[in-house]
Symmetry: C2
Subunit: 340 residues, 2 copies
């Protein structure tokens, strides 16, 4: 391993001078700077990150923690993070939080003790609370994305799920629907609760009652959505809802499939709205293009790195909070209801 000492000897200067050159200090004569740079190149020197981290108390990296890194849902977010990282002086590493509690704790300890300078935690699992409280208690810089955490003054980036859901349901109402069902994802994720709240807000504001069997809990297994939509369709047309608002696009896709497989039409017999705007031709989704609420995940990913970099550099006040608006992408799964 080549060290500063080797370079120093080769360039006939002190280690301190080599360090100065590496770190771009101004008080080095041009001639010496040239010589040191040449030696670095000749010897193929690169500073050891562990040693540097130790003395600087900075690891030079930001860790992005995701549940299920393998989910295709993260595409835009990751792309944004990558592009954000390109503009940051810090490197970004991605970490997948496993299910095993002990491994998780160990992993967090690993990251927060000399491996990374800050953590981005994406997702709104209630089960993340102990992690968040730990990070807060040890005063480790972190930023939450999509986790509306009220009990502590933390840095967070949110999207307005309630507004997004409300807008989607109001769009259905404006299109003429009044019996609108909701397929709700796992309530252990805050976003699903918020979207549910947006749905109820819109319904209540418009004086529309919510029938008990119009709320379906889909939890983790998306196939429940398939069955749930078929259950609805088997009711007489004048009794069943004319539209479904879903917590996310996967649920919407399965619901649509269930309806189509019974020989009904989307949107003629049933309108469907999703959330996330995640399924499209590019990822080989070939079903009907789903009208869906889009969150600006790319921007969120990109901005999160920049904000966190600024926080670390002290150019950004904390706690920092920012909310992003959603956008309703109108595609082909919504039409006026048949009149009954």
């Amino acid at each position: 391993m080549i060290t500063v000492k080797d370079v120093a000897k080769h360039a006939d200067v002190s280690a301190a001078t080599v360090s100065r050159v590496i770190n771009g200090a101004q008080n080095v004569s041009p001639e010496i700077r040239r010589r040191v740079k040449e030696s670095i190149k000749t010897l193929g020197y690169f500073p050891n990150n562990a040693a540097r981290s130790l003395v600087l108390r900075q690891a030079g990296s930001i860790a992005v923690l995701l549940h299920n890194l393998h989910s295709p849902f993260y595409g835009d977010l990751i792309r944004g993070i990558e592009d954000g990282a390109a503009t940051s002086s810090r490197n970004v590493i991605f970490c997948s939080l496993g299910r095993n509690q002990e491994n998780r704790d160990h992993y967090i300890q690993f990251l927060t003790n000399g491996t990374s300078d800050a953590i981005i935690l994406y997702g709104s699992m209630f089960s993340d609370q102990p992690i968040i409280e730990h990070l807060y208690s040890v005063n480790f810089p972190f930023l939450l994305i999509e986790n509306n955490f009220q009990s502590l003054p933390v840095n967070q980036i949110l999207i307005d799920n309630i507004e997004g859901a409300r807008g989607a349901v109001e769009y259905l109402i404006d299109t003429g629907h009044s019996r609108i069902a909701h397929f709700m994802g796992n309530p252990n994720k805050k976003v699903n609760l918020e979207r549910f709240n947006g749905y109820t807000e819109a319904m209540q504001k418009n004086g529309l009652p919510i029938a008990q069997d119009h709320i379906k809990n889909i939890f983790e297994d998306d196939d429940l959505s398939y069955k749930a939509s078929q259950e609805l369709m088997q009711q007489p047309a004048e009794a069943r809802p004319t539209a479904i608002f879903c917590s996310n696009d996967r649920i919407a896709a399965k619901a649509i499939q269930g309806i189509l497989d019974l020989g009904f039409s989307v949107p003629d017999d049933m309108s469907v709205v999703g959330f996330d705007n995640q399924l499209n031709y590019d990822n080989c989704y070939h079903g009907p293009s789903i009208t869906s609420v889009k969150q600006p995940l790319y921007e969120i990913g990109r901005d999160s790195i920049q904000h966190l970099t600024n926080i670390l550099d002290g150019t950004q006040a904390t706690p920092f909070s920012k909310s992003y608006h959603t956008e309703l992408v109108k595609m082909s799964t919504v039409a006026p209801p048949k009149i009954w």
Copy 2:
């Protein structure tokens, strides 16, 4: 920050003893061990990774390098890696290699100098060659997956693309096809070349000529596949191929879509075989279930961590090489050709 010194003082022992307890050395009296453990718990101590890495010359982590971490294609691989990591004493970090050459080099330097102990490089881009040569030249432990690298004795895990492709094409031949087209992905990826070779091998072995316009280059833009399949279908039925073997499932999916959109049937008018077995109901692919060559990505991911861990621990001889077989998953996109 709590350090060994703090713990030492609290437990009224020396720092060396604390270190011994942390690292499970045997020569510590039970009483002292108990006291130290208690102090560690009381103070909430966790060893600093930078300091530890510096002295041990081990970072305690394995870096997984992926191009386009955001690709849904990596799902099974990442899942396997996660599960492999759970059995390893080392942590796994995921890294996305950007497009910018300078950033890339910097990132590699960052990883190889005190940030990680070994690298897993997935993918068969020819452009990875400089990275591989660099890692080799600095004697940094690494493992290639799906990159058949011949010029240096490196650790690698491969799948038998040629065999897989040959088997797929022979299945088509056995089903009665003789005019079989090939939609070939980006030739800058070795896997696509290998699959092409498997195709030609099968054709030649069975005495089937390959018509010039039956080879379509799809490169990066999958939509080219859509157009290419439509071009084929516009030829008279007795002249056009009766089956297409595609470099991957995305290409296959677009080809199928092109055929269907012209009002033709898959597999009645055209049989299609893909590679990767990647598109299914779970990731919201709703087209015809594609007959496809499946690679054991989960196993590869899991095994790669274990092999690399063993290599680092010196319990696995190097260079290490292993090849995995593929499996043809027969679904609904292949049927005997109509007789002409």
